[in-house]
C-alpha cells in the first residue's frame, strides 16, 4: 500500500510561512495570540481556539490541509469571514503548520497540494484498543499552558502493568517522532524531570484523533533528551 502524503513531507516553504506570519499578525493574533495558544492560555483571556499542540491535533489531525484552509476561509477572521484572499489563507495555513513543527521544504503549498496532504493524528497507537496499558520513551516537557507532554516519543508499545516498574522494563529506549499529552502526570512528581528523557507507562486514551497517556509510572532514563 502506498503511504499517503502528509505534512511531514515538506509541503510549504519558509518564505511562504513568513508571509503567513505577517497575515496572521495583522488578522488573527488578537484572538489566537502570538504563540497560537489562544484560549488554552489561561492568563490571556483570549477567545480563539488554540492552533498548536494537542488541540490542533484534535481539531485538524487526520484531516487534509484543505480542511484547515476551508475552515479559515469559511469562518475567519472572526466577524469578517472570507475577507482575505485564497493565497493569504494558504499562507496562514503554512504558518500554522510551521508553528506545529512540520518542516518547510522547497515548494510552496498550493490548493492542489492542500487537497492531497494529510495532517497526521497523534499516531503511535494504531491497532491498539482504547485504555490499553502502554509504554513509551520520550522527552518530558511542560508546555506554556503547564500541560505535561512526552515529545519526540517512540511509538506506544503494549506492556504488562506488572512489568511497568521493573528494572528490566526501564531500558534506555529510543526516541521517536510522536507527541503525547500526559494525563495525571502531576501525581508522579514530574517537575524534577522536566527536559529529561523518561520512560512512561500508563493507559492509552483516545480523544478524537489525538492519543494521550494516563500516567501510571514515570522514570528518568537519561538526563538529556538527546536532540
Amino acid at each position: 500500500m502506498k503511504a499517503r502524503k502528509t505534512v511531514r513531507d515538506p509541503v510549504y516553504t519558509a518564505a511562504q510561512a513568513e508571509r503567513g506570519k505577517q497575515v496572521y499578525e495583522a488578522n488573527c493574533v488578537s484572538c489566537h495570540l502570538a504563540d497560537l495558544d489562544g484560549s488554552a492560555n489561561p492568563t490571556a483571556g483570549a477567545r480563539g481556539a488554540p492552533l498548536t499542540g494537542t488541540r490542533f491535533v484534535q481539531d485538524f489531525g487526520e484531516s487534509k490541509v484543505s480542511a484547515l484552509f476551508n475552515k479559515m476561509k469559511r469562518d475567519m477572521p472572526s466577524g469578517r469571514p472570507g475577507s482575505l484572499s485564497d493565497q493569504e489563507y494558504l499562507d496562514v495555513a503554512t504558518y500554522v503548520l510551521q508553528k506545529n513543527s512540520f518542516p518547510a521544504g522547497s515548494a510552496e503549498l498550493t490548493p492542489e497540494i492542500a487537497d492531497t496532504a494529510w495532517i497526521p493524528g497523534a499516531g503511535g497507537g494504531e491497532g491498539l484498543e482504547n485504555y490499553t496499558f502502554v509504554s513509551s520513551v520520550g522527552c518530558l516537557h511542560q508546555d506554556p499552558t503547564r500541560s505535561w507532554l512526552l515529545t519526540n516519543a517512540e511509538e506506544l508499545k503494549k506492556t504488562e502493568p506488572s512489568a511497568a516498574a521493573s528494572a528490566a522494563a526501564a531500558g534506555a529506549g529510543k526516541q521517536g517522532e510522536f507527541t503525547f499529552r500526559l494525563l495525571d502526570a502531576i501525581s508522579h512528581n514530574p517537575e524534577p524531570h522536566n527536559g529529561h528523557k523518561v520512560r512512561v507507562t500508563g493507559y492509552m486514551v483516545r480523544l478524537g484523533a489525538e492519543i494521550r497517556v494516563n500516567v501510571m509510572s514515570l522514570q528518568m532514563v537519561g538526563a538529556a533528551c538527546g536532540n
Binding site: 484560549s39 489561561p42 483571556g45 484534535q58 494525563l183 495525571d184 480523544l207
Partner: protein, 458 residues
C-alpha cells in the same frame, strides 16, 4: 415631589391589603434611594450577619459531568470497562463499565485546585471559587431532580429558591421584578412562587437576541402615554379596592396588582437596564458574543440594579444530559460556558460586587463514572460537583470528596438542602426561620432538612 413615609406606615399600608397601590402611582417619581428603602422583606427570624444581598444562579440543565470538569479520578483508567463491586450503584438506565475522562486536569490557584482543560477560564479565577465535590441529591430523574435543585422538594407545588429569597429579603428596586430568570419561559420549578405571594414569581425572559425590545416584547405602550396608563391603572385599582372591601384581602389579587404595577414601572427603567449593548465592547468581548455570555452580563447588570435573584440558564434546554458522546459534546459546549461564567466572576470582583453576590453553578445532578451507550454517562444523584463564588464562601478550595471512581459523595457530604441552608445563611437568614404558613402549616425551603456548611464559609 417628596414622599415621607415611616417604615411603620409602609407596613401598615401593606397590611391593609391592596392599600399599597395608592402609593404605587407616585413610585415613578421617587428617587432610587427612596425606592430602595421601600423594599420590605418578610423574613422574621433572627438577623444573621449577612454577607450577600444577591444570588446569580448559573443553571446547567441536564446534569453536567463532574468527572470531566471538576472531579478527576485517575482510578477510572485502571478499571476502564470494568465494573468493580465498589461501583455497584443502581443507575437510571442500563450502564456498562467505568468510562475514564480523556481530559487533562491541572492544579490552579493558591491551593492547587484541580480543574479540567475544558475550563481554562474558570481555572484562572479558581481562587474566588469554592468547588463542592461532595454534593448529593435524592432523585435520579430530571423533573423531580430539577424541582429538588430549585425548591428543595420533588413535588411540583413548592416555591423556588428565588421566590423564597425574594420573599424573605424583599425588593431593592421596585421598578423591576426582584426575581428574574434569563433564558427561561418563566414556568416550572425554576421560577415558581407556588403558595408564596405571586409578586415573588420569577419573571422569565428569552435572551437569544440581545435587543432589549426583543427580550421584553411589547414593553413600550405605543398607543397610550404614561399619564393615561396611570389613569387606567388607578381606575382598575379602584375597582380592585372595592372588591377587596367586599370580599376581604386576597393575596393573589394583591400579587397580581403588584405585578401590574411593576410592569408599569418597568417601562421607565427596563429597556435601558436590559440593553447590554450599552456595555463597553471590551466587556462584551470578555463575556463572549453568545447567548450565555449575554445572560451572564445581563445578570450582572440586573444585580447591580438591585434585582435580588437572577437565574441564568445555559441555553438549549436539558442540554447537559450527555447520555452519549459526552467527550465531543463537552468540547463543543464548555468554551462559551467557561468564558461567560469566568467573566462574570472576574467582572463582579473588579466592580466590588462579588463579596455581596453569590454566584452558584450546577445542575440537578451529576453523571455516572460508568458508561452508557459506550460514549456517554447516565444521571448521578449520589455524588456530583457544584461551585459557589463570592458572598462569603471560601475561594480556591475543593470541599468534600467522592469515592475513588467519582460515583458517590463520601467525605463532607453536602446535600442540596445543606446548600440551600448555607446560601440562605449567607443572605442573613436562618433557613429554619424563613417560613410561610399555608394549608395549616409552616413551610420552609429546606423542609425539615439542611445544615449550614460552616467549613466553606469565610
Amino acid at each position: 415631589m417628596t414622599l415621607k413615609l415611616s417604615r411603620r406606615e409602609m407596613i401598615e399600608t401593606l397590611g391593609g391589603g391592596v392599600g399599597l397601590v395608592g402609593l404605587a402611582g407616585v413610585f415613578a417619581g421617587l428617587s432610587r434611594s427612596d425606592v430602595k428603602a421601600a423594599g420590605l422583606g418578610n423574613y422574621a427570624g433572627p438577623a444573621l450577619p449577612a454577607k450577600a444581598k444577591h444570588v446569580i444562579m448559573l443553571y446547567m440543565n441536564g446534569g453536567p459531568s463532574q468527572l470531566d470538569m471538576f472531579d478527576p479520578k485517575p482510578a477510572l483508567y485502571k478499571y476502564a470497562g470494568q465494573r468493580p463491586n465498589a461501583v455497584d450503584l443502581r443507575t437510571e438506565r442500563t450502564t456498562g463499565g467505568l468510562l475514564p475522562s480523556p481530559f487533562e486536569f491541572k492544579r490552579y490557584g493558591r491551593n492547587g485546585v484541580e480543574v479540567s482543560e475544558l475550563l481554562p477560564q474558570l481555572a484562572s479565577v479558581i481562587d474566588d471559587v469554592c468547588v463542592i465535590r461532595s454534593m448529593y441529591t435524592f432523585n435520579p430523574t430530571h423533573t423531580p431532580g430539577r424541582a429538588l435543585f430549585h425548591t428543595g422538594s420533588v413535588l411540583a407545588t413548592r416555591p423556588s429558591m428565588g421566590s423564597w429569597i425574594s420573599y424573605g429579603l424583599g425588593s431593592e428596586n421596585e421598578n423591576i421584578p426582584s426575581f428574574i430568570a434569563l433564558g427561561s419561559n418563566g414556568s416550572g420549578p425554576q421560577t415558581r412562587s407556588a403558595f408564596l405571594p405571586t409578586e415573588y414569581q420569577g419573571v422569565g425572559f428569552q435572551i437569544n437576541d440581545p435587543d432589549p425590545e426583543k427580550i421584553i416584547p411589547n414593553l413600550r405602550n405605543k398607543q397610550v402615554d404614561a399619564a393615561a396608563q396611570r389613569a387606567d391603572m388607578d381606575a382598575l385599582l379602584g375597582l380592585n379596592q372595592n372588591y377587596s372591601k367586599s370580599f376581604g384581602a386576597d393575596t393573589f389579587l394583591e400579587g397580581r396588582i403588584k405585578s401590574m404595577e411593576t410592569a408599569y414601572r418597568m417601562q421607565f427603567e427596563a429597556l435601558d437596564l436590559f440593553d447590554i449593548r450599552k456595555e463597553p465592547e471590551s466587556i462584551r468581548e470578555e463575556y463572549g458574543n453568545t447567548v450565555f455570555g449575554t445572560g451572564c452580563l445581563l445578570a450582572r447588570r440586573l444585580v447591580e440594579a438591585g434585582v435580588r435573584y437572577v437565574e441564568c440558564d445555559y441555553p438549549g434546554g436539558q442540554i447537559w444530559d450527555d447520555h452519549r458522546d459526552v467527550n465531543d459534546n463537552l468540547r463543543k459546549r464548555c468554551p462559551d460556558m467557561d468564558q461567560a461564567a469566568a467573566a462574570l466572576i472576574r467582572d463582579l470582583k473588579r466592580r466590588g460586587k462579588l463579596d455581596e453576590t453569590l454566584v452558584v453553578w450546577g445542575g440537578e445532578f451529576g453523571r455516572t463514572p460508568v458508561s452508557e451507550s459506550g460514549s456517554g454517562r447516565d444521571h448521578n444523584p449520589y455524588g456530583y460537583t457544584m461551585f459557589v463564588a463570592g458572598g462569603g464562601f471560601k475561594g480556591g478550595i475543593a470541599y468534600g470528596a467522592t469515592d475513588e471512581f467519582g460515583f458517590k459523595a463520601e467525605q463532607n457530604r453536602v446535600s442540596i438542602h445543606d446548600l440551600h441552608a448555607t446560601l440562605l445563611h449567607q443572605l442573613g437568614m436562618d433557613h429554619t426561620k424563613l417560613t410561610y404558613r399555608y394549608a395549616g402549616r409552616d413551610f420552609r425551603l429546606t423542609d425539615v432538612f439542611g445544615e449550614v456548611v460552616k467549613d466553606i464559609l469565610v
